[in-house]
Symmetry: C2
Subunit: 921 residues, 2 copies
């Protein structure tokens, strides 16, 4: 039979899967020689067996537990129910992956009426005994027996009320004893049995409850959010109790070996005297910062420092430890890798690498893309903050700036959040039951609790701004509002929370970007990442400003310049670009077919005649003139971009959207014309609108995404893409003359057939050569294509005959491969499908490797079969998503391109991909 | 050096590629012992060399020709320019593929002033000599020297005018001589040289001209239409002249060995006395039907019959022969496989198989899908014909019924035809120069010409109705109209032509389907095809009537029943289906999310509460009631279909289109609401429209093709597809109880991810099992999916885990794989791209094998890897296209499904696929 129970001396930290994080660490720490209360662990596998047996102990388990209890009794010299040396234990869950506060715990197990009296006799400490008993009854009733905890706490509250005190420690011994009696009575009333006095029975039931707690809704919710499989199960740790509530020379504390908030060296944590661990985490009383111990209890502080160094040296990472001081003696209850803010994570990783504790690769690997994302979270504009009304200041529990409507309850927060609204969840304090509302909120604001309270821990984990313990605000939950002095914030009112400073503001405060250049540790880590990664990281930028910013973020070129906006008016230009575009489109009705004929006739007999006809045609001339009018503007735009990207490649995508996007919307015109007609309008006003409507209708498409756009427009509107390429190449020439190192690459969108690619290539290459010949300048340029239509991927071997580079447009590729129009689908069914598990994730955020990814892989292989040195990248939104970047690395792309703000994340993710799947030999 | 010139005795019929069709056949016939005028052939390869040498004779060619001329002179005992026995020859083109009337010919070569006088001296037949000379000068000037033929004919016309005669044969000898003199003078004037008297020079120039004629525009147009490669080249045949114009005991004729019109046995053709071959084809004089020869010249007729039997026995196919009678002696000039109508093709193939001349496979192979298509062409409704105004009757030159606007010129016909209008091209007679207009016309009507005129031959080849020689109509080309008695038909007026009867009608005459059941030869051929083919042929049918018809056409099941129309009102039903559907959609706003929650909660704790909530919700109840109201109608519809398809599978596709298609169009509502508001309307009228508009807007999608439809609707509208499956299975049960052999298959549309398939499968299978359990009936059914989204094809291995069958929806699959919305694209750019050669063909008509086909192949392989016996078919429009059917055969599909009228074609195409690529061992 497989071993189901491990003594702490039998395990080690690598046995997390079997012993859970807590159990493995207790074992590891025991081996490490730290003073750990004795105990044993029941494996996670047993949890599975327990569920398979429909919530019953599998055969042999109880006997194995009994043996370990016997060993425990022998080693501690205490025994369950013994009146001389009674054994009290804690029973705790401990999953392989840390799930803070999500699982239930029973403390002081072994307590009963007889033991209570006996311990009082032995220690003389009545207060401690009755307080421990009170806690045990409450927890056992709640956690093990499934009763409302609240009802049991109420018994205590009534005693406090009677005695006229507020704090737990102020209650008299008599009051504590009364509480225990009252709670036992309540237990009997609710459960039709006496509170169990038999310790082994208490233990048996508690272990079952720990296992069962794996499946309570809040645990399930947390796992779903975090993507933890249900099959993992929890271990159960049974450990000798030590007591932080054994008077004022006792206490319980938590500490981090470095700051979880900013990563600075030194102990960080809190200690609550005369209290058990749960009191610290619950944030009921406000604890004392550990740093104050340095002077108050220098001996204890030194001891903690030494332990911190030992565990960091051992675990090579910052540790989050729980400890208890029992009558002056320090016991370590737990150590685990500490959760931390992004800033802290980055600083710790870089510092530890510099300290030689870990190597650079490990440092880079330790920093998650999410860390970088958080560090680059927008912060509030200082000027805007200056002018905003500050309501209150609380604990800066998780950094970043968030703006949203105040919502006072998790369920309603979920409702509003899912409806797409920005929500700030405002709660007295949060509990794991609030997780559903927290998931969708922009940030949290709690009235109570400290830096290790539930809200704070969750917020840092998820990278959301949080202000905790903001006691200035008075929450009235029954009326869904809070007041601060004269101000009242009602549900639905806008507030802004600055998790970095702890300030709460009325209304919406404008945010600004974070100052990347000041993040020296991040910059250091990213430099290490650059040394590691094999993928290039380019950026999507449409103007010089974004290009400059992207370079600062570390982009080494532009993977996508969209040219659409260049057809719209720009501030401060005398001539309207848009008017010319509209005119071009209107004239194209006559001009385009004629010019296409002319193109086709080149070299043929009819050419001269057609040429004469075109030259004489007013529409043709106006059409061509409109294009010529736009040319200088585009050239100017490109010049700025080339200058900003001096030395790096710039990939410019030719015009992509359907032409009707440059005209007024069909519905608007339809309404206007209907109104004009209804009003009996006549003459020019009506005719003009009618004409425009007619043109819009003629351009209108049922499925514009799959319509006349991309290279199709280039092939149907003669001169359009030629004009763009002329502008690009003239800009390149002009900049080169000024000494800029230019690398223009022209990208043809929406290719589906090699013939389209070939026809556009021939045409555009000719224009480019003409510009260069005219300028007498030699300059390397490329013409390639986006791969965004499934057929292009399927026939990449053919397309690579003409295309000199590929760039995956995974937005469109996903739309077509999935047959899903993103504009329509996300709200209508896609997110619902993700929620229901019908889709593993939103394929527009994370590349669908099985489907879209399969096509991409095929495309890469086929493209390189034709042209082995084919440069292939990605410029869809996925280019900034870590999982997708990993996939791009796996299939051998040359680079990813993403928005400037995603560039640092992409650099890191690319390094992770290389570390996990080395491409470099 | 490669041999460039072959004597007729040196070649055979298998050398078409080298000697051209005409040359190979002349050689074959020579070997066969028919009386063929002696001659030789210059190879097609030489034509290529000629063009490579920029229109010059390659080195050595002339010497080789000279040798063959010498042989010819020796064997005929005649010599070029000899005054005793002068040699006259014809020089003709002859490409490997027959291109009727497209290539130029020179006759009577060798004639000159001296020879003319000599031959007159020898034969005393002045008329013949001058007539032949006249023809030679005309042809040589036109074909070889590139002069306007018309100008030379005018010389002859002036002579006729002077003499006051009309027919060529009425002109006096003097007049003919005068004509020759006049023409030679004209030649000198135009070309600044005397008409060449040297025979070898005439020959050299003529051979060059034949080669050059390969590249004249009309030849190129024909090749482009017919898909003949330009590289093929033409051979050049030099053959001793025989003369059909040597008096009234001479003549020229063409004949088919069986009727090219209906395939009946017996000679069919025409003979024109005292005329050369060109006169017959040109339709200038009206020839005498060959059948009349039987009595007029029984000896000649018998000789022709014997020859027909010989060549048919030899070539195993119906032959189209040209012959000349020179002073009573019969010479065969040419034989080739005869062009024929569809009806004729089918009858001849079946007859020949029955006669034992060919085997069944050959017979099936000889019938083209196009033949079947033509035979099933609609004909005019006899009742409608009865009432229509018949204008005239001409020759029934090519069968079928066509309706269109009369257009009097090929270029304008092309214009209108390309604009999507139905056009009947009306011409005095057609020439190869009219091909561009003929391509796009529905049918042709000519005033002149016979059954072998250009219009008739082309019409039969292309399967278009044609009436030729309809002399009743008087065409006035300058005014673009024709008159028949009191009637005037102007350009743009509607007419109807019955190519089967030769009748022309005023206006549009209603057409009806052809009577397939009467086409016994076709039915026979298709039975043979069924024996051969390995693909099943199913049909797309949405109602019992179509199902019955499809069975008659030979369908063995339904591959696609669309259920959408079942949601619309049907004639004579008391309850409105549509109202219920609209109500369901309106109520779904509240009902669907609630019911989805309820579904998700099944088995959970919240279920009871949600159930109570749903039960009490009015919208939910109305939503469910609406579905229940539609159920009995759908059940009734399915019952009818199952009954009609007794014994065969019926694949029913669940609802596919987006819901908004069941509501009024957005634009319509927008206009109505705008108008109502503008008119100051208030109250219920406005509110109702506003409400409807709001719902339509909320359902509105930018790209509905890629939106909430197909299985997505099934997953988002609880109860919808369950209702459909309940209706299908109840209908199946009811029919089975009545003794019908039912095989229902439920098809889920628009699957993109295995999870969707799996979720729908589970849900629907449960409904099906419940229906069967309730009825206590066991019955085999399947649940499968359409493959119409690229991702589904890419992950077919996963999807096949749940799907019990696949059916390719190649319309949508093509749209998504190509990124082309068919609704939008065809007019806007797709047809233009096909025209420009940017796409090889319209991928919505012919499966794109490289792209879409590659996905299909992948899907088949992956699907069968998971489920080796997976049934896979196709139900897109491509299922009725021969090339696509061949592809389906190649990738191993089980069946194709197409519209009832395409079923016979599909059966034949499937047999062809099997013959070309045998799957059966």
């Amino acid at each position: 039979m497989e071993k189901r129970v491990y003594d702490f001396t039998e395990g080690n930290k690598d046995m997390k899967a079997l012993l859970g994080g807590k159990g493995a660490n207790l074992a590891e720490m025991t081996t490490l020689g730290l003073s750990i209360p004795l105990g044993f662990t029941i494996t996670t596998k047993t949890c599975g067996e327990f569920f398979e047996a429909d919530g019953k102990f599998p055969k042999g388990l109880w006997e194995e537990i009994l043996e370990h209890v016997k060993t425990l009794e022998k080693n501690t010299g205490k025994r369950f129910g013994d009146t001389k040396a009674p054994l009290l234990v804690s029973v705790r869950s401990g999953a392989p992956i840390s799930m803070p506060g999500m699982m239930d715990t029973v403390l002081n197990l072994g307590m009963n009426d007889e033991v209570a009296e006996a311990v009082i006799g032995l220690t003389g400490d009545e207060r401690f005994v009755w307080d421990a008993y009170r806690r045990f009854v409450t927890m056992f009733s709640d956690v093990v027996m499934g009763q409302e905890r609240h009802a049991f706490e109420k018994v205590f509250d009534r005693v406090k009320e009677k005695e006229g005190v507020e704090g737990d420690t102020e209650v008299s011994v008599k009051g504590l004893k009364e509480t225990v009696e009252g709670q036992k009575k309540l237990y009997r009333m609710l459960l039709k049995e006496d509170f169990p006095q038999e310790s082994m029975e208490q233990l048996r039931r508690s272990i079952g409850a720990v296992f069962n707690s794996w499946n309570i809704p809040r645990a399930r919710t947390y796992r779903r959010v975090e993507g933890i499989p249900d099959s993992m199960g929890t271990a159960c740790n049974v450990q000798t109790m030590v007591f932080g509530n054994m008077g004022w020379d006792s206490g319980s504390g938590v500490m981090f070996t470095r700051s979880p908030s900013d990563g600075s060296k030194g102990l960080f944590g809190e200690l609550l005297f005369n209290a058990q661990g749960e009191d610290v985490v619950a944030g009921i009383r406000t604890p004392i910062p550990i740093v104050e111990m340095k002077e108050q209890q220098p001996h204890l502080y030194k001891e903690l420092e030494a332990i911190a160094e030992t565990v960091e040296g051992h675990y090579k990472d910052m540790q989050d430890m729980e400890f208890t001081v029992e009558k002056g003696k320090l016991w370590i209850l737990q150590t685990r890798t500490g959760k931390r803010t992004a800033r802290s994570a980055i600083k710790i990783a870089v510092d530890m690498a510099k300290e030689g504790l870990i190597d650079k690769k490990t440092a880079v690997k330790r920093i998650t893309p999410n860390n970088v994302d958080q560090l680059l979270h927008p912060q509030f504009d200082p000027a805007a903050k200056e002018e905003a009304t500050m309501l209150a200041k609380g604990l800066n529990a998780s950094p970043g700036a968030a703006v949203g409507i105040a919502i006072f309850n998790a369920d309603r927060a979920e409702e509003h959040g899912k409806a797409g609204e920005d929500v700030i969840l405002v709660r007295p304090e949060t509990t794991p039951d609030d997780v559903n509302g927290m998931v969708v909120s922009q940030g949290f604001l709690t009235q109570h609790g400290g830096g290790t309270s539930h809200a704070a821990v969750v917020a840092r984990g998820w990278g959301k701004p949080c202000i905790a313990g903001c006691e200035d605000i008075k929450i009235d939950n029954s009326r869904n509002l809070f007041t601060v002095g004269e101000h009242t914030v009602k549900e639905g009112d806008w507030i802004s929370v600055d998790g970095t400073t702890g300030e709460v503001f009325l209304g919406k405060v404008a945010k600004i970007e974070t100052a990347f250049e000041k993040e020296t540790e991040l910059i250091q880590a990213l430099e290490w990442a650059d040394e590691i990664k094999s993928l290039g990281v380019l950026t999507n930028a449409d103007n010089p400003e974004d290009s400059v910013k992207a370079r600062q973020f570390g982009a080494t070129g532009i993977g996508l310049t969209r040219t659409e906006h260049m057809f719209f008016d720009q501030e401060g230009e005398e001539i309207s670009r848009r008017e010319n575009v509209v005119n071009m489109i209107l004239k194209s009705e006559v001009a385009a077919p004629l010019l296409r004929q002319l193109d086709a006739a080149k070299g043929g007999e009819e050419y001269d005649e057609l040429k004469k006809k075109a030259d004489a045609n007013k529409d043709v001339q106006e059409y061509l003139q409109a294009l010529q009018n736009i040319l200088p503007f585009q050239r100017k735009d490109f010049e700025g971009i080339f200058e900003a990207m001096d030395g790096y490649p710039v990939i410019v995508r030719l015009i992509d959207p359907p032409m009707h996007e440059f005209l007024p919307p069909r519905e608007e015109l339809l309404q206007e014309v209907t109104e004009l007609r209804c009003r009996g309008a006549k003459g020019e006003e009506l005719e003009e609108k009618e004409y425009l409507l007619r043109v819009v209708e003629s351009l209108w498409e049922t499925n514009p995404m799959l319509g006349l756009r991309g290279c199709r427009a280039g092939l149907m509107y003669p001169g359009l893409t030629e004009m763009q390429v002329q502008a690009i190449m003239e800009a390149a020439v002009n900049m080169k003359k000024k000494g800029v190192d230019v690398h223009p690459e022209v990208m043809i969108p929406l290719t589906s057939h090699v013939n389209e690619m070939h026809a556009e290539y021939e045409k555009l290459n000719k224009v480019a050569e003409e510009v260069l010949a005219k300028a007498g300048i030699d300059l390397h340029y490329k013409i390639g294509t986006m791969i965004e239509i499934p057929r292009a991927a399927l026939t990449a071997d053919e397309i690579a005959e003409s295309a000199e580079f590929f760039s995956f447009g995974t937005n469109d590729l996903t739309q077509m491969t999935f047959g899903i129009s993103r504009d329509d689908a996300e709200g209508k069914f896609l997110l619902n499908f993700v929620d229901r598990g019908l889709l593993p994730s939103n394929p527009f955020q994370v590349i669908d490797r099985e489907g879209v990814g399969q096509l991409m892989k095929m495309c890469v292989d086929k493209g390189r079969a034709t042209r082995p040195d084919l440069e292939i990248g990605i410029c869809g939104e996925h280019g900034g998503d870590p999982s997708s970047i990993e996939f791009c690395h796996l299939i051998g792309l040359n680079y990813v391109s993403c928005s400037p703000y995603r560039v640092p994340i992409a650099r890191l993710a690319a390094a992770h991909a290389e570390l996990d799947h080395p491409r470099k030999k």
